[in-house]
């Protein structure tokens, strides 16, 4: 049966066909849809959102150790979070096959860095496969499961944005039930205390030697000889890009199993062609191997070290120019930066905090990451998920050593999903070390940025089952915070009051929790009871009263639009969801904006 699938959908299909029983992940572009699609195989696979990637990896390790085939997936930076359990599981190894998907982001379409996770394979000493197409994404899961069980190792499954999010035609198969292997307690295998892990360490080295032989023999690594002039070595989507540019005029060594590398095949290929191009995204991972084997090649000395190696990039590097294009001067294009949606509950907070002086904002990763820019210009820095509380605390401790204007208050800002991910660890640190850092948790009841995944506050699991909310305020109080205030962020007076209240307390830490659902959230029964009025009205501007002062425009709401000729602001009705924030920004003497109930 043929289906049109994205690489992510194909991985899920492959896992289902390979008899996977349990899967866990934390969302992250471009990997999110893998678990979302695994969840569709209800009854055969139990798929769960974990609170972070480390927990997901650990859950999957546990499931694998007791005999089930398992898979976890994450974006590239997610693997940093999950690296600790991965490195030691590389020693103890699975019982049921275990595949670890890393979805890398060459070109950084929606990520904070461009790390090349192929490096993890060598670092953790685990084998790695790299699919190029949706078909391979499906097929290689099965192969990876077999490798995992035969060689007693988790397998790294490296994808990139274009493999994850490109659709292709996939020939699908049926599910093979492999059951759950009987669990038998085996402390020599599963407990890595030094006395035992020193033995395991040696076994890992022996395993790598065996995998080198596998790498030479597997059909995942193959040569396609067309020419003895040009030879291209590539893996992943770069193989398809190279074929687009060179067609049959070059020979190819296509690598699908890239750790350990098939050194014999590489040597043989390089000695058959005059010129070798190594085409790969990010680091010179294959290139360094080619050079170690004593061959000259064109790699990062010709191709860019960053970004995607799309056909135009290859063409520019090899031939000096891309295909012919149409000349434009760019004067008719204005930037279209992503914005907080109309009705986004993060807006009220950023609108109010933007007015405060001598405040430094430690940001985090979520929809609120967009608030560093116009019109809020709020956030000072961000780093990785959950970092706001850690970086905020450290900065506050140093500011507290200073005097006068140099002394500032730090406000650490993150969302609900990020709170449970890792920001709560930083909060414990604030409570324990007693800095006066202010923490603001923007609770929009869902994991918004990555496309609305359920989480511990949303009321549902990935399986669609209702689950009680884990209340952030309760968790924070249990940590020992005395000053905890919950507010409706769409009420600007309350929002301002909360900020002033926290700033006024210079001796102790405070926590503000804003609580209002994301417009795109599927409401739980609790949401319906708690927010009965949400999104049931529209705001309208009386054009006769509007004086064009643009106060409301400062909220950065995309439903508002300023007509320079008429000097009036209007509201795009289709977009407005009636949060009412703009109403409160209209000068009291004007009051041109009002609420219209549907």
């Amino acid at each position: 049966m043929k289906k049109l699938l994205t690489g992510d959908e194909a991985v899920a299909r492959g896992a289902w066909e390979a008899g996977v029983k349990y899967a866990s992940a934390y969302p992250g572009t471009p990997s999110t849809e893998i678990l979302e699609n695994l969840a569709l195989y209800k009854g055969d696979i139990l798929a769960e959102w974990a609170t972070n990637e480390k927990v997901a990896m650990e859950a999957v390790i546990g499931a694998s150790m007791v005999g089930a085939r398992t898979i976890c997936s994450q974006k590239h930076v997610g693997l940093n979070v999950a690296a600790d359990p991965m490195f030691t599981f590389a020693y103890t190894g699975p019982l049921g096959g275990m595949v670890i998907v890393t979805a890398d982001e060459p070109g950084q379409h929606s990520s904070q860095n461009e790390q090349d996770n192929r490096n993890y394979a060598r670092h953790a000493k685990i084998p790695m496969v790299e699919p190029s197409t949706a078909q391979e994404s499906k097929d290689m899961v099965k192969v990876a499961m077999e490798i995992s069980e035969e060689y007693n190792t988790p397998v790294l499954f490296r994808m990139t944005t274009r493999v994850c999010h490109s659709k292709g035609i996939v020939e699908c198969g049926e599910r093979t039930e492999v059951g759950v292997k009987p669990y038998v307690k085996d402390i020599k295998k599963n407990i890595p205390v030094p006395a035992m892990s020193r033995v395991q360490r040696v076994q890992v080295e022996a395993r790598t030697e065996k995998l080198k032989v596998y790498s030479e023999n597997t059909p995942l690594n193959f040569a396609e000889m067309n020419s003895d002039e040009i030879g291209v070595i590539a893996s992943g989507v770069c193989f398809n890009y190279a074929k687009e540019v060179f067609g049959d005029s070059a020979s190819y060594l296509k690598l699908g199993f890239t750790y350990p590398m098939p050194t014999g095949k590489i040597k043989e290929f390089c000695s058959k062609v005059k010129k070798v191009y190594v085409i790969e995204e990010n680091d010179p991972w294959i290139e360094e191997q080619v050079r170690l084997l004593g061959f000259e090649c064109f790699g990062k000395n010709l191709f860019p070290f960053n970004g995607e190696m799309t056909p135009d990039v290859i063409r520019k590097s090899v031939y000096g120019k891309p295909c012919d294009t149409i000349e434009t001067d760019g004067s008719k294009v204005v930037d279209r930066p992503p914005t907080l949606c109309a009705g986004c509950p993060h807006r009220g907070f950023f609108y109010e905090i933007g007015k405060k002086k001598n405040v430094v904002i430690a940001g985090d990763i979520g929809c609120y990451a967009l608030a560093f820019t116009e019109p809020y210009n709020a956030t000072d820095w961000s780093n990785c998920m959950g970092s706001s509380t850690g970086t905020g605390h450290g900065a506050q401790q140093v500011f507290n050593m200073l005097e006068g204007d140099a002394k500032k208050r730090v406000v650490a800002v993150h969302g609900d999903s990020t709170f449970f991910h890792t920001a709560m660890n930083g909060l414990v640190n604030i409570a324990y070390n007693r800095s006066n850092t202010i923490t603001v948790i923007l609770d929009n009841r869902i994991t918004g940025m990555t496309g609305h995944q359920e989480n511990p506050v949303s009321g549902y699991t990935l399986q669609g089952l209702e689950t009680p909310e884990i209340e952030i305020a309760g968790v924070v109080k249990a940590m020992g915070f005395k000053n905890v205030m919950q507010v409706d962020p769409n009420d600007l007076t309350a929002m301002k009051y909360a900020i002033d209240w926290a700033l006024a307390n210079e001796a102790e830490p405070s926590v503000i929790i804003t609580r209002w659902p994301c417009v795109l959230k599927k409401f739980s029964a609790q949401d319906k009871a708690e927010f009965p009025e949400a999104f049931k009205s529209k705001s309208v501007i009386d054009q006769d009263k509007c004086i064009g002062c643009k106060s409301c425009i400062k909220t950065g709401c995309p439903a508002l639009s300023y007509d320079a000729a008429a000097k009036k602001v209007s509201i795009i009705r289709d977009q407005c969801v009636g949060c009412g924030v703009c109403i409160q920004t209209c000068p009291p003497k004007i009051q041109a904006i009002s609420k219209e109930t549907k």
Partner: protein, 189 residues
């Protein structure tokens, strides 16, 4: 020969559904097809693109600069943004429709004037009032399928079995409306 169709617009305009119908129809007609899209920021009003490539055997899932046979812009300014992806011998289908981006909303800059004229001066351009046509059909949301209709006509794909494809891929209650929208779009070219 592999053909390349580039659909561009603003998050929420339905480029993804249009691209989906296109790929399903092409697979159904026996082509090898690849489709690629970047949608990480799509829900937040960013610029989006869906790229469809079809032929006997398609290698790259992405269209390279200068590689598209047709550029279909669901929003005017997006046509200009992505124009360098069009083959100079290619053509443009553009929706005569403006969506202001944040610098325009805040009044910092004006929405650029004369886009359709500039496009027309460079390449064969079909401008369509898809919003008006969609409203006339009774549902502003079918703007995307009207544009899809114009696209398939421009690419000579209007003979594929569209009625069945639409019936199989959209909600039954909306199938008739979408078929009408597609035909209306075809008639614009």
């Amino acid at each position: 020969m592999t053909k390349s169709i580039m659909l561009v617009g603003v998050g929420g305009q339905g480029t993804i559904l249009a691209a989906k119908l296109l790929t399903v129809a092409l697979m159904d007609a026996g082509y090898d097809v690849k489709m690629s899209e970047i949608h990480g920021m799509s829900q937040r009003g960013g610029s989006v693109s869906s790229q469809v490539r079809y032929g006997k055997e398609v290698h790259s899932p992405v269209i390279e600069e200068g590689g598209a046979d047709i550029l279909v812009a669901f929003e005017k300014m997006e046509a200009m943004r992505w124009l360098n992806y069009l083959n100079p011998k290619g053509k443009v289908v553009v929706n005569n429709w403006e969506i202001k981006s944040m610098p325009i909303v805040t009044g910092k800059v004006d929405y650029p004037a004369g886009i359709i004229e500039e496009l027309g001066a460079k390449v064969p351009t079909t401008s369509i009032d898809a919003a008006k046509l969609a409203t006339e059909l009774g549902n502003s949301k079918v703007m995307n399928v009207i544009l899809l209709g114009a696209t398939v006509k421009s690419m000579g794909l209007d003979t594929l079995d569209w009625e069945r494809i639409i019936k199989e891929n959209v909600k039954p209650a909306l199938a008739e409306l979408n078929i009408k929208a597609l035909k209306l779009g075809m008639a614009q070219v």
